[in-house]
Symmetry: C2
Subunit: 328 residues, 2 copies
């Protein structure tokens, strides 16, 4: 096979980032790449992939130290099968250790093209956090912060389908409308319009909250703690209001953990991939029957990835931020 040479666009960090990153901290560069794996023992198991698109996450602190790892969907070159896993922000990647870097699924369901969100990391995160961490019971009262985000919108829909009362918070009127009208939440509110988060939660949960799916941290968590019910459960999925702050805001109401016997548990989706088949068993019929809605925010081209990332921190995106690197 000829050693085809392509231009490989990639994004690099120019500066060390200590607070929120800015677009000017990043730079798009282009280098030439031979479409051939390097020789040598270290690359015996390596694969070369063409990146198609990736979902954009917001733990920017990690990015600064380890580059831009993100969940990519890509085709292996030259074999052409469709895979997903973690790689960098670039058009082509050499993945030296596909087995250890990420569990690569090459048996993705045919639906995959239309719901990266559902069958990928956000869907599995929502599933593990809600069902495994929170052990829900029908009729329980569920609150979700950052509820229009990739994970939140799915948790809400899973919880509704399971028979719970579901309320979400978000940061714009448009997102609140989505929660109520597209995702079928029982109630939703714009936290930015509430003077008193405690009072807002009491309005929607006069009898308290059984399950809190935590995506934001800070003042919202403190208000939620005051409104939890006895034996409530909190799945800590993210703390986006706190990322990139030099010091995180203090949480003052942890005494509620004792008085209300609350379980609060952090989790990472990577621990739950053994449940992936069970998750697909649940979610694929729901997708086929059109019972699950999802919203993705698409940015076209790697050169627009920095602005898509920055947008996450101000909540500019609606639904999961996806960056399309190449349309095949």
């Amino acid at each position: 096979m000829a050693e085809e040479e392509v231009s490989n666009k990639h994004v690099i960090l120019k500066n060390y980032v200590s607070g929120f990153p800015k677009e000017s901290d990043m730079e798009v560069k282009t280098t030439a790449l031979k479409l051939k794996l390097p020789d040598g023992g270290d690359y015996s198991g390596a694969i070369l992939v063409k990146n198609l698109y990736f979902t954009c996450n917001c733990s920017a602190k990690d990015r600064v130290t380890i580059g831009f790892p993100d969940l990519f969907f890509f085709r292996r070159h030259p074999i052409g099968d469709l895979l997903w896993g973690l790689t960098r922000w670039e058009e082509y990647s050499v993945i030296a250790d596909p087995e250890t870097r990420f569990k690569i699924h090459n048996n993705l369901p045919p639906l995959f093209n239309c719901s990266a969100l559902l069958t990928g990391m956000p869907g599995m995160t929502a599933y593990a956090g809600f069902f495994e961490i929170c052990s829900p019971k029908k009729g329980e009262r569920v609150f979700i912060s950052a509820a229009s985000g990739a994970v939140g919108q799915l948790v809400g829909q899973f919880a509704k389908a399971f028979g719970c009362y579901v309320v979400g918070s978000a940061g714009t009127k448009e997102k609140v409308d989505l929660l109520k009208n597209k995702f079928g939440f029982d109630e939703a509110f714009n936290y930015k319009e509430e003077q008193d988060l405690n009072a807002a939660l009491k309005r929607y949960f006069p009898d308290g909250i059984d399950i809190y799916f935590e995506n934001v941290g800070g003042k919202m968590l403190d208000a939620v703690l005051l409104n939890m019910r006895v034996h409530g459960r909190i799945a800590v999925c993210g703390l986006i209001s706190q990322y990139n702050l030099e010091q995180h805001e203090g949480i003052h109401n942890l005494f509620c953990l004792i008085t209300k016997r609350i379980k609060m548990e952090g989790f990472l989706v990577f621990d739950y991939y053994h449940l992936y088949p069970k998750f697909l068993d649940m979610v694929l019929p729901q997708i086929k029957e059109g019972k699950i809605a999802y919203v993705e925010d698409i940015a076209e081209g790697l050169e627009n990835a920095p602005s898509a990332l920055i947008g996450l921190f101000s909540g500019r995106n609606i639904g999961k931020q996806v960056v399309v690197v190449a349309r095949e």
Copy 2:
């Protein structure tokens, strides 16, 4: 039977207490009491008891609103059987609702007189918090704050007997010596002598902490979070450094819950009394074989109860604070 009249000493709160209580907030009063139950339907199930001694707890905020409920050991009058339950700071109590106020045990083991600590609330609290909340495995690394307290000293001994590595913190050299020499902890340190709690924990747990038995809150909790191992467990039993503060100190390191997938769970011993027989099965042989040590700090007379309570907040007591109301 003659209606014997006795003088009934009791302690009342004179003032609303917003910060730490002071001795001058409390007053010892004496009233006359007929040793007879009041007539009337509300008292059909009531019992009259002579209080012998009680263990002194430190959730002073609750005291302000509901009086001085504490775990008392008492004899039922005139029947004379030995019971335990919650009542007020007084020499004699009429307990109108013995079934609902507290689960009263009248089948206390014969050892009870020499180990109120072990067979009462502290023992059961240590048992439930360590075994039920923390699900320990042999060889795991356990850290206990306020470790010389009634519950802490027992958690440490249960954990050692179970096969764990156990380190405790306390606030005086005398208490640290007790932990190492009397209670058999592997290591112990005086947190007041540490400039940097994070560094202190790294010294005793170079590979991190699997289980944290939380009695204090505040800065210690923040330091512990940084030193937890992946899939660690935190049983939140108390937050004594925070009680009586107008606003609790902020906890800044909850992001560790996610990165390390930590479970943090508050509990109250009342939820676990169904395990009391199982607890006794474990602990009574250990007591008989002299394998469990305990230290109680005895104050004689109800008139010394206010100073005993105040002493808890400065850590003046060594071991469980007990107030002897009457020696039969």
